[in-house]
Subunit: 434 residues, 2 copies
Amino acid sequence: MSTEGSSTPSSTTPSAGAADLAARLDDLRRAYADLQARGLKLDLTRGKPSAEQLDLSEALLALPGAGTHTAEDGSDTRNYGGLAGLPELRRIFAELLGVPVDQLLAQGNASLTLMYDTVVQALLFGVPGSERPWSREEQITFVCPVPGYDRHFAICEELGIRMVTVPMTPDGPDAEAVAALVADDPTVKGLWVVPTYANPDGSVVSEAVARRLVSMPAAAPDFRIFWDNAYAVHHLTEHEAKSANALDLAAEAGHPDRVLMYASTSKITFAGSGVAFFASSPANVSWFTKHLGIRSIGPDKINHLRHATFFGDAEGVRNHMRKHREILAPKFRAVVDILDERLGDSGVATWTRPDGGYFVSVDVVPGTAARVVQLAKEAGIALTPAGATFPYHQDPDDRNLRLAPTMPPLDEVRVAMDGVATCILLAAAEATAS
Amino acid sequence: MSTEGSSTPSSTTPSAGAADLAARLDDLRRAYADLQARGLKLDLTRGKPSAEQLDLSEALLALPGAGTHTAEDGSDTRNYGGLAGLPELRRIFAELLGVPVDQLLAQGNASLTLMYDTVVQALLFGVPGSERPWSREEQITFVCPVPGYDRHFAICEELGIRMVTVPMTPDGPDAEAVAALVADDPTVKGLWVVPTYANPDGSVVSEAVARRLVSMPAAAPDFRIFWDNAYAVHHLTEHEAKSANALDLAAEAGHPDRVLMYASTSKITFAGSGVAFFASSPANVSWFTKHLGIRSIGPDKINHLRHATFFGDAEGVRNHMRKHREILAPKFRAVVDILDERLGDSGVATWTRPDGGYFVSVDVVPGTAARVVQLAKEAGIALTPAGATFPYHQDPDDRNLRLAPTMPPLDEVRVAMDGVATCILLAAAEATAS
């Protein structure tokens, strides 16, 4: 994430220029009325790929092709078995994720499911190093960097896991805040991390932060980092961030079992019809596989073969992602350009300039995020609900907005963002005037 | 299941003729030595489809085809969403399973996973009607008809669920034995049933047994029948058994939420790359979907579209299954013919004559099943381990063998079965002589 300029996200309150804004309230109300009069119907809510992106993988729809069903080891991918997933596909993603192929499983269509199932297995059985199943503990706590991914928080909420928050920084979660919680509180069993181009703030975990997280002392002997590398190869610029190699670093630090890594092709090929991956230490992989073997005879190996055939090798994935970049970079540039242009001097918001991933995170005047979403909705622009990036949907400062510009066409992104800027300004002016 | 003739499975001990056998011990030892000398390498262990069966679905490997990704409702199957599965595929299987399409979910590649996840959800959250999550009960018990499906029992074993057994009959589980357990014991929360062409004994639940099971009083208000209709359309003869419509019958009986129904295309199209289904009452479907929505954004809808395109309609599935039948019927006939021929007069075994499904169940002289498997193994014929069809792999009478003739070519089935017959006879003779 770029940290240059005045639009760097910070924990300070955007306020300079707010007084000017109040004076402009009538102008902004007129601008908003004009916006409403346009009768828009635009959607920046979710991180979905656009049809143009999905078209990049159209060849998959006819793969592996009649007669092509034999794995490189000679086995028939059409039949049962192969619990760990197809080796040729695992090899490609082992290279991309920087993990040994033996420690990487290729599974179904969603890393979200693998994460949920990991937590459920921990609840039912405990993880290697647990004294008892997590469900038998009085309380389980996960550390949740905020703003963060709403579906991580939903897993915790569903499973009765207490969530405590730490702030995000441009280098990932605030490692010292995490370390303090983990060192002192034996109920802290988990930490959510999106290490590369985080949802929503686009930050990349630095090597230093990664080292701190894998080496910090933990009160719980079975503390785990859920390292959700959802955007590992999802670059928006030529500066391709390389994720810290968390598994290696954890092993070096003497905590080989601390990191559980997840990834998928959901935003590489087809959302919902891709392949999800799980990587961890040999002990964790063995633990996960043992329980997996009771609920599954094996994953969809034909979909694995389909993907392996489509990509060919790791470079094939990288080349494919450059095509995504060509489609996405202009949309993200439009978002940032319009925010710069419309709000750059206003002092009412800060926003990220992501080098990858699927989101732009905007911090508006505290207490106005929900109002911005409401104003946008009433002008026909759907935004992710305020609070979505916090546990229990509660943004304590009512400040953060997550913008998802990937799905609409570029011209719609521009129109929507101009409207969003108007809503941000109006909400700020209203708040100042009141 | 045919119940004609002396080879009907029964609960009596095969013993007539055993004395004659002992006299033949030397002959049988010679025959077995000849068998070993052949250096066979044959496998009757698992219910896997053969390559010839898999070839029937070869067209799937190039489907849905480039440019084909739009669902009949106009949505893009390549993108996220559609948690309940693709409506056009659900409609086909709703007709085949006799359930309303709104009460049928199409999901991932394995009904086993859906069953496991249902039990896990029940443990974590309880089911509609539960007083508390099942995991907070002192004990949970499932009724397990035996012989039965090893993976059902493995789920219970893994999750710490006590198993009590009831005998199978030609009409399904012994309904009176089930009813007695369910009426008296509030810890009994579940019953496993494979209603059509049961694994391994091929029996079909009669309408009368189905009615009894769905209407019997239960001490637990949240008792559930896991109705695993894995072989609903897997006929081996022109007499196509029709499963009792358990959902309708349960609703009529005033227990609409009692039945959880599962099915899949694993043995229709590709094992491991098919589509699994879950059907139940509106309350159960809503309960299941609510939790599913936390762990999944949606299933692989392209695989759903691939299957819907391949089948066209329910009649397409029926026609496709007739092609399977043409391949499988001769193999099952060979198994039964060789058993009839080699063992028909011996009195040392009884066996099933299934009209569908994937298995032949053989009861040998009590105390010799494990010996038969060992003898077969040492002659190069792999059989499912003795005890596999019982909870904890413990057949109390060491009597039941599950034969799976689907995968090997017909000539290998013949050779293997002739060898198995020799092993059964030798084990019986050894037991009588000792």
